[in-house]
């Protein structure tokens, strides 16, 4: 996946979880959970959404790497 595709995917998954959240306002190194007020259930749903859309297993130990846009792009692009 390209960076653009990953960012678009993240935005789409988040739109289903936090409809009013605007990913464009979130810095690359900001914690998405703080920036978008995601609770543990929201973040888990975010991981599930990314996992299902990419067909990729995301081990529980890797989920901290999905907490910022920069590390998320690196993780899913890698």
């Amino acid at each position: 996946m390209t960076e653009t595709e990953i960012r678009a995917l993240a935005a789409e998954v988040l739109a289903g979880i936090a409809p009013e959240a605007d990913l464009a306002t979130v810095g690359d190194d900001e914690d998405l959970r703080d920036a978008l007020d995601l609770d543990s259930m929201d973040f888990m749903n975010f991981v599930i959404g990314l996992s299902q859309a990419t067909g990729r297993k995301i081990p529980d130990a890797d989920t901290p790497r999905l907490q910022t846009l920069r590390s998320l792009v690196a993780y899913l692009g890698g």
Partner: protein, 399 residues
């Protein structure tokens, strides 16, 4: 012939408005069927019917009815419909909320006309929708993917969404969420009543979450994201189990006496995006497995936020549990939701120094609290409940 009454969907509810009937006059209804959608201060609730028979005399849409008013009548199976065999008509003073003359007019006004504009057939592939348009569509309850776009390359843009929303009938255009101002009023009323009438007492304990966390990590390590568990389900199950052991904190205080709940139906406090709070029931939480509880919580949170909670979930909670989650405060002392008699609170799990076998060690800890009604119990009993929750969390495999 039985009356189907407007249910009290919370301590604070005075009126409800039927915004949709899911059945028609003459339909057979069975206990547990969702028969109507009722708008309340806490959003639109799917109202279940616990009668069995043929439904009739549905009230018109769009009228605010007091709690206890007749919404419809249900004829038992086998009960003859013919007027000769039917029981005598209700006396004139029976609470009929709607004068018949006003009824047809109200029904017409509220009946949803299908939106005539901008509804393209559902596209085979996902329509191109601008992010701004998609956000607005979600806020307005419009299906952006079903719109014909007027933007570049036929993309759906903000203006298309606004136009489609304007074309929808008033009540259908409302998202199936809640109105934050009404929600605030509902919470204010219930909490003011609680603080006015319930003599609260509070207890707090700190629980070592090490065993539970280790069990959880092992469970989650090998599983797909969809099958993983959050700490919240362990907390929920531990609380539910403890309430079985200490039933005097599970139930209601009404008419000057405590009445135990008929099962442990945990009202799970869900914070709503945009402000507001609702605590719908997880029925029989003590009897469900952890994966079942995880599925139930996920479903409950989803429906609490987007609409579609059921009336039984609003009326059945016998206790409330609030868990602040991984970004919340360290502890909470709750306000009891009347007529319940207890609220169990869990703070954020934090790593702090803890004494283990005479030595200080870093441990994950959770602040556990109880707010309870002194009319129904004393602190000694409350302490037993907290001890039972702690004990359950030290043996997570048993949950």
């Amino acid at each position: 012939m039985a009356d189907f009454l407007m249910p009290a969907l919370g301590a604070d509810m005075e009126t409800g408005t039927v915004v949709e009937w899911r059945v028609r006059a003459g339909d057979r209804v069975r206990p547990g069927d969702v028969i109507a959608v009722v708008e309340t201060h806490k959003g639109a609730i799917d109202v279940e019917c616990f009668l069995d028979g043929v439904i009739d005399e549905l009230v018109p849409l769009g009228q605010a009815l007091p709690v206890g008013a007749v919404m419809a009548r249900v004829r038992a199976p086998g009960e003859a419909a013919a007027p000769a065999a039917a029981p005598p008509p209700p006396p004139p003073e029976a609470p009929r909320p709607s004068p018949p003359a006003a009824a047809p007019q109200a029904a017409t006004a509220a009946a949803p006309a299908p939106p005539a504009v901008a509804r393209a057939p559902a596209p085979a592939t996902r329509a191109r929708v601008s992010p701004a348009a998609r956000r607005r569509a979600q806020a307005l309850g419009v299906d952006a993917d079903a719109l014909a776009g007027t933007g570049a390359d036929g993309a759906v843009v903000l203006a298309d969404v606004e136009r489609a929303a304007a074309a929808q009938p008033a009540h259908a255009a409302k998202p199936r969420g809640f109105d934050p101002a009404l929600m605030r009023q509902a919470i204010a009323a219930a909490m003011a009543k609680s603080k006015r009438e319930i003599p609260h007492y509070y207890l707090q304990s700190t629980v070592d979450f090490t065993a539970a966390q280790a069990w959880l990590d092992a469970w989650n390590a090998e599983r797909d994201a969809i099958d993983r568990l959050l700490p919240a389900v362990l907390l929920l199950k531990a609380a539910a189990r403890a309430l079985v052991a200490v039933p005097a904190l599970n139930g209601f205080f009404a008419d000057g006496a405590f009445r135990p709940g008929d099962g442990v139906h945990v009202g799970w406090a869900v914070s709503l995006r945009g402000g507001g709070l609702v605590a719908p029931a997880v029925h029989h939480a003590d009897r469900r497995t952890l994966p079942e509880l995880m599925t139930a919580l996920r479903d409950l949170v989803q429906r609490a936020r987007s609409g579609g909670l059921r009336s039984s979930e609003m009326t059945d909670p016998t206790v409330t549990v609030t868990s602040l989650g991984d970004r919340g405060a360290e502890s909470v002392l709750g306000v009891i939701y009347p007529p319940q008699v207890a609220l169990i609170g869990f703070g954020r799990i934090v790593v702090r120094p803890w004494v283990v076998d005479g030595r200080i060690a870093p441990r994950p800890l959770v602040a556990l609290s109880l707010a309870a009604d002194h009319r129904a119990s004393d602190g000694h009993l409350g302490g037993q409940l907290l001890a039972a929750i702690d004990a359950a969390l030290q043996d997570p495999a048993s949950l």
